[in-house]
């Protein structure tokens, strides 16, 4: 056995779930998933985040066994599961529309996976009651799914995926149908269930706030490729390319050309006039185009002289009062959608629409990334 193969094997043993060079195509013309490599350690809450059509749901369906991989191997607990049918994989799953069986009561729904496993009646009843208690619906066992609210159905769906004690739970946009408040509440509940049970969760969503709230790690999908796989704070603070910067959180973009690059810092001549320095994350040599990414809350208005290296002037286009901060839309270096979040502090200078002010930021808050297609 070669060294490389041995390492591969070891890695497959450590990771609970492992995608290895997985590709998927439905029509033989377009690859929906392109060369997916992903290790998910046991007990992790991993979110696949991306816009629709990015390949995240397809990846989940391949893991669940509902779609065969066109190429590559998927491992579960060190075993290749490419040829294992979905009912032999022992994976719990929560579906987008919950998929609660409408002709069965809540308790019958929960008992379904236990009956399949030929458990005794007493054991089934005990497990069902425990699962219902876990999702705080202890007295709902006799009801039909249609008699429950959306949030309650969601809880039942989670309980049903957990009731047979699987080690891996897949969730396919499970909160998409809930209103905002309930969604946030369920995010915390699912997170807590995950923490208490220690199961591995693979969660698919297109909602970045949801991903940031719940996940240990997030895999950002776009165009069938994982653009970045990292922890929530790392993704927000240190996006590796302009897609991630744009998709996670709010982001100001400034286009320009690299004029100098040294020691991880580059100087960029902006298309709209002015020169700034930025962390060179993902740029070519001097003379290449780049996109600067800058978080709105990292921009300072009228900074003290000498406190920040990058200072430009901008015209205030619009002020939106949001209570804790004032959202300020400005025109800076040719970008009319330049957003600055001004904290609602006592000592702030009053802002006026139409006024021209100076804006500034630190070099390390500004990241020079690949030039996004204009």
């Amino acid at each position: 056995m070669s060294l490389a193969a041995e390492q591969t094997n070891n890695a497959a043993h450590e990771a609970h779930v492992r995608f290895e060079n997985v590709q998927k195509s439905y029509d033989g013309e377009i690859l929906v998933v392109k060369d997916l490599n992903l290790d998910i350690p046991a007990g992790e809450f991993l979110t696949m985040l991306g816009p629709s059509g990015s390949g995240k749901t397809t990846s989940l369906m391949m893991l669940a066994g509902f779609e065969p991989a066109t190429h590559g191997e998927i491992y579960l607990g060190g075993q290749s599961i490419n040829n294992v049918p979905p009912n032999k994989r022992g994976i719990g799953m929560v579906f987008q529309n919950y998929a609660l069986f409408p002709h069965m009561s809540v308790a019958e729904n929960l008992a379904f996976p236990l009956k399949v496993r030929k458990m005794g009646r007493a054991e089934i009843e005990e497990k069902v009651n425990r699962a219902l208690a876990m999702v705080e619906l202890p007295d709902m066992g006799g009801r039909r799914p249609a008699q429950l609210s959306g949030g309650q159905q969601q809880r039942v769906a989670v309980a049903r995926a957990l009731v047979f004690d699987p080690e891996l739970i897949l969730m396919d946009e499970p909160l998409g149908a809930l209103d905002k408040q309930l969604r946030e509440q369920m995010q915390y509940e699912i997170k807590h269930i995950h923490e208490n049970l220690g199961v591995t969760v693979v969660y698919v969503t297109h909602d970045q706030a949801e991903a940031l709230t719940m996940s240990d790690r997030i895999a950002v999908f776009e165009d069938g490729v994982i653009q970045q796989l990292s922890t929530p704070d790392d993704l927000y603070e240190r996006p590796q390319n302009s897609f991630v910067a744009q998709f996670i959180g709010e982001n100001n973009k400034l286009h320009g050309k690299v004029s100098k690059k040294s020691n991880g810092v580059c100087t960029v001549d902006l298309d709209g006039g002015g020169t700034v320095t930025a962390d060179a994350i993902n740029v070519g040599a001097a003379g290449d185009r780049t996109t600067l990414s800058l978080r709105p809350e990292r921009v300072e208005i009228e900074p003290e002289q000498g406190s920040v290296p990058n200072i430009l002037s901008g015209e205030i286009k619009e002020l939106i009062y949001l209570g804790d901060h004032i959202r300020t839309r400005m025109s800076v270096a040719g970008n009319d959608e330049f957003i600055v979040k001004v904290p609602n502090n006592a000592g702030n200078i009053p802002l006026e629409e139409g006024a021209t002010v100076r804006v500034g930021w630190m070099s390390e808050d500004c990241r020079a990334l690949d030039p996004l297609a204009p």
């Binding site: 669940a64 509902f66 979905p86 009912n87 719990g92 987008q96 409408p102 002709h103 496993r117």
Partner: protein, 431 residues
């Protein structure tokens, strides 16, 4: 409340009715505003209600009435009908009654009015006593020659059969306007000569066997339709839209073709010199002189009717299956259930409303089907509706036809009631 038009808003308590801003009680106000909507709804449904009354309620009422009401006897012999009604049925009727009978008969012979001729009466009595027709026509020809009593003796001189108390009992029964004798005939029963209800002679028992045959053939056709339609509907509901639309057109295409054309096509296919037999002979499955009889019998009726009724099964099944998202089966599979178990416990139960609708529709259509069995049924593929049509069109025994029709209607209602008990009509889904 003494003054409802107070300028100050009236105090609202739990006992006083709520008052609208202009002082009218709120309920009255609400009724007034919704009245126009109700009137419009009524107006819009009026054509349908009228149509149903004219095309449904009236004919069925007419049929029910006709199945028990047959005034031929009293029409032909009005005076005799009145007199014989009070006869005690002992021995032969008195000579007074016989005199009226003879005079009515002579008068009826001259009558040319439809429904009032001696022939009508002879036919009517013939239903009760087969073979008695000639007795009436023969006697009627000579009735006006009998001018004086004793009338009975004169009748017996014409034919000895008149010297039979049972014949006069039958006449007493026949001249009553309301009778259950057509229901007896429709269920292979009759009044015997003494007037009590007995089963018909074995040779004449035809209606009940055909009714049973109609019921079980309809059940067989329904079952075959279900077996063929279920997989087809499943395929249609799971295929991508474009393909399923194309296949759906193939399902509906025969539906849009004339019933007669389709039935004749089956004749061309199934007859002994037809396509299927030719292919079998060509392939050597059967000898040229052993061609299979597949048409003008029960086989032909079943094959053609399954084909014709299939869309009525596919459409409700398809529309129900279309609403079952694939995630249900996936969920069942993810919880460890095998494909067949998931199908049995999760998919199939959810298609029950469609199955219920489809089977009910096909069964009720099949039980009253007429054209196809008439064309391809031969003798043993005939159904009850063909007999009803025979009585309406050929034998002109409308009362018997109506009685058979009513029995068929009752059978359908019984099955509908059973269905409601088993499946629940609320659970039916036609689409």
């Amino acid at each position: 409340m003494t003054d409802a038009t107070l300028s100050a808003p009236p105090q609202v308590t739990s006992t006083t009715p709520l008052i609208a801003a202009d002082g009218v009680p709120l309920k009255q106000k609400l009724a007034r505003t919704t009245r126009r909507m109700k009137m419009r709804a009524l107006f819009l449904t009026l054509p349908l209600v009228l149509f149903l009354i004219v095309s449904f309620v009236l004919p069925i009422g007419q049929m029910l009435y006709r199945s028990v009401h047959n005034p031929t006897g009293s029409n032909v012999m009005p005076n005799f009908a009145v007199q014989i009604e009070n006869w005690d049925g002992q021995g032969l009727p008195s000579d007074d009654i016989i005199e009226t009978f003879v005079k009515d008969m002579a008068a009826a012979r001259k009558n040319r009015e439809v429904g009032k001729t001696i022939g009508n009466l002879a036919t009517r009595v013939n239903y009760e006593i087969p073979g008695s027709r000639s007795l009436f026509t023969k006697t009627a020809r000579r009735a006006d020659k009998i001018t004086e009593g004793p009338y009975m003796a004169a009748l017996i001189e014409i034919d000895k059969k008149w010297d039979n108390p049972n014949l006069w009992l039958t006449l007493q029964r026949v001249t009553k306007d309301f009778t259950i004798s057509f229901y007896l005939a429709a269920t292979d029963r009759k009044f015997d000569e003494a007037g009590s209800i007995v089963r018909a002679d074995e040779l004449y028992r035809i209606y009940l066997p055909i009714l049973w045959k109609t019921i079980w053939l309809s059940a067989l056709i329904t079952a075959l339709c279900f077996i063929i339609a279920y997989p087809v509907s499943y395929l249609l509901s799971t295929l991508p839209l474009r393909t399923s639309n194309l296949l759906m057109i193939l399902v509906l295409l025969p539906f849009w073709t004339s019933l007669l054309v389709r039935t004749s096509a089956w004749i061309a296919m199934l007859q002994t010199e037809g396509i299927i037999n030719n292919v079998f002979v060509y392939l050597g499955f059967i000898d040229d002189n052993q061609r299979i009889q597949m048409i003008y019998n029960m086989t032909g009726t079943v094959i053609a009717m399954v084909h014709i009724l299939l869309p009525f099964m596919i459409l409700p099944l398809f529309s129900v299956m279309k609403t079952i998202p694939p995630s249900y089966m996936r969920a069942a599979r993810s919880m460890g259930a095998s494909g067949t178990y998931s199908f049995r416990k999760v998919y199939f139960p959810q298609t029950v409303p469609g199955i219920a609708a489809g089977t009910l529709l096909v069964f009720i259509l099949a039980i009253g089907y007429y054209i196809t069995p008439a064309l391809v049924g031969g003798n043993d593929g005939l159904l009850i509706s063909n007999l009803i049509a025979d009585h309406i069109k050929k034998t002109l025994n409308w009362s018997l036809g109506a009685a058979l029709g009513t029995i068929l209607l009752v059978v359908v209602l019984i099955f509908y009631w059973l269905y409601n008990k088993l499946v629940g009509v609320d659970n039916l889904k036609f689409g």
